[in-house]
Symmetry: C2
């Protein structure tokens, strides 16, 4: 095969991930030649600012600034690694329109414009690869779309936001508050300068929509399911859960539920004995259940330069071998099958963890339990913790943390309870409600 030409790549974006991809392609070229039969060659590395220092040294003549070099007839594949969605979308369209395959790590782009971009790729007979868009170095796209293809996948549960998981681990294991943990995540390079999309659950929900579409062959939009971030969690909440034998993790769930699709991305209490409770730092874990294979787990670094670059290069290798071109037309993504109905949020059934800061005075407990009882929400356990807030002298009782675990109930009933509880004068407004993994 060595007489065949290497596959030619234009890298667009040479930031953290782009530099990592370039390093693997340049430093491991012989290994990649063996695994592809033909090798992979970077012909252009297109950047906005060519004077910026980078942690990879490129051969002469490769660094460029014009996006139009993507259209160079020698280029087989365009690697979009600039992030964002506006320019990135234009790049992918330009690449597909000029007959190039595309590799991207950009889940936000896929969530926003996936339908249009996949349609364009199908029209042009070209391939979009996106292994790096979900769970970084963990080959979960390949697992869902190929390795487990003999199965009807019935359930996906995933810790797929490394930043949130790092922050939660840091808080509980190193005993620091939320703000400090966010700063540490930024210092470590896990969190962006503005980590809003990570900590508010958007990033995990975007990845979940991609996995859910692949696994269940249905269209899913971010707006269709409950999404909650980790910003409202305090160290005390993590400790209360720990005392009860649970860890709180940002858990993204998509599962078949009597012919409908149940979806949610929320901080969730997971029993300490479960493998997902043990996922620490910026690691990701995805549990997939299939009708034949049963439960399987995939875990590894969900972010970071080289793990993400590993996934991008594996996509490039799949294109060079020709596998990706065979797989893409068969993917059920933004697909042609009728959508599976999404279970309305109100009908999702789970147990819940409720944490109140309540006034330490007679009648408080009765007020709360009356609201829950009236709505048919059954209490499984209740713990009043020692107050962390000193009572103000002369003002009588202070504020006490109160934790209630419910039996199984519906999200709809809990939402009704939320409204009633918000009106209850004995409860502080920072009331926290989290689902418990069944």
């Amino acid at each position: 095969m060595s007489d065949r030409q290497p596959m030619k790549v234009a890298l667009v974006g040479l930031g953290t991930v782009g530099s990592g991809v370039a390093r693997i392609l340049l430093e491991q070229s012989e290994r990649i030649r063996q695994r592809t039969g033909i090798g992979i060659e970077i012909v252009h590395a297109i950047v906005r600012d060519p004077s910026k220092p980078r942690d990879v040294s490129l051969p002469k003549g490769i660094l460029a600034t014009s996006f139009d070099l993507m259209e160079d007839p020698r280029v087989d594949v365009v690697c979009e690694l600039i992030g964002g969605t506006t320019t990135a979308g234009d790049i992918v369209r330009q690449a597909l329109n000029s007959g190039k395959h595309v590799v991207t790590a950009n889940k936000a782009l896929l969530c926003e414009q996936g339908e249009e971009l996949f349609q364009l790729a199908r029209e042009k007979g070209r391939t979009i690869c996106f292994e790096a868009a979900v769970a970084g170095g963990v080959p979960i796209i390949e697992a869902v779309s190929q390795s487990l293809a003999a199965n009807q996948i019935t359930s996906i549960e995933a810790i797929i936001n490394g930043t949130s998981n790092y922050i939660l681990t840091e808080m509980l294991d190193r005993n620091v508050g939320y703000e400090d943990a966010v700063r540490k995540a930024q210092d470590k390079g896990y969190a962006e300068a503005d980590p809003a999309m990570d900590v508010d659950g958007t990033d995990a929900a975007q990845k979940l929509t991609i996995l859910a579409q692949l696994a269940f062959g249905t269209r899913v939009s971010l707006k269709e399911f409950p999404r909650q971030g980790i910003e409202a969690l305090s160290l005390a909440d993590l400790r209360y859960a720990d005392d009860l034998g649970f860890r709180i993790k940002l858990l993204a769930v998509a599962r078949l539920n009597k012919g409908r699709l149940e979806l949610h991305t929320q901080p969730t209490l997971i029993r300490s004995q479960h493998p997902m409770a043990d996922v620490y730092d910026a690691y990701n874990m995805i549990e997939i259940e299939g009708d034949a294979v049963g439960k399987t787990w995939f875990s590894g670094m969900g972010a970071g330069q080289m793990p993400t670059a590993s996934a991008v290069v594996s996509d490039l290798i799949d294109l060079a071998v020709g596998r990706a071109q065979l797989t893409f037309p068969l993917l059920d993504l933004w697909g042609r099958r009728p959508p599976l109905p999404v279970l309305p949020a109100e009908e999702i059934e789970r147990r819940y963890y409720l944490r109140f800061h309540a006034n330490d005075q007679p009648g408080t407990m009765a007020a709360i339990t009356n609201i829950l009882g009236k709505l048919g929400i059954s209490i499984a356990s209740c713990i009043q913790h020692e107050s962390e807030i000193k009572p103000t002298r002369g003002q009588g009782g202070g504020i006490v943390p109160l934790v209630i675990m419910t039996h199984t109930t519906t999200e709809g009933q809990m939402r009704e309870a939320d409204i009633e509880l918000a009106r209850c004068p004995c409860i502080q407004p920072n009331y926290l409600r989290l689902p418990i993994r069944g």
Copy 2:
């Protein structure tokens, strides 16, 4: 694509796994058609005894007894699922010689005849798929050969014998002896009537040679590395390890060690906090470390009808899509690259757990520690447990269990110590030595 013909399969063997494969292909035919574009059709199911009851109902005219039906011109793929190595080898050769692709779950066959069969497949331009041969439903062959292809894999550590892991879990968690646990594994269908190959480490070592060859592109033979089973472990041993904060697991290891390949398959002490210590029952887990991706973990059921069938059908889907035919010629299995030298067993460096049943009399501890000290083996900790064996009346001291944990030393030094210790009259012959995971 619906105008293209379905891929035609001859199943050879309709035992547990074969029936599972038939069930998926028959019951999920529409889903498989979607995922392949063409569908997969069973044209022959070849068995020795057609009157045997089976847990799948086949369409009329499919069940047959003649192996020559494999050569039916309509057949594209032969699925070898009869097990054993003699007839199975003949079947694979006959299939390849008549121009068919082959899918097999038979690691023993690959270990024994892989070189010849791969050579034949390459000559005939045909493909051998074997995802089910290692770790059942866990797609580890695909991970090593495709998903992590951007990486130089540096280390593989694996719990890949479900039967042994089930027995070890059963013993410690349900407090039963080795023999009882083996019987329970047989009742559950995990262990064969003769579980020798599972419990003596052969099965795990066979799977390790396949993984190691794929990951490191080198030839490895079973004879080249230490292999030890779980037969000598008692419940007391598992408890002593547990007291020290370790779990004993049958661990298969292949890692790069300064340009050489370190390999061993042995019951190994793993710290309780490590994810591999938590793998229970017949589950498998494989930890793969790559130079770019870092550590990744893959876990799921390593055996059983439907998990194994899931892997076989995913191979069939890969063939129907055409991916497998592209991947196979690039696999570095029984390959063409010069072999990587295997680190001689004597040079493997680890910590060790030593358990003695020693005579409870003065001078015993001195005798043991003198032997170790003379050979430069440094003791990290030492615990004398309460005797489980009642002293015989009038015979003075009884037999006491003594556990020593060493600092890092070589296998060579330990083998010298074994010889000296065997000569020591104060030690019972059931001395147990296990490595500790670093």
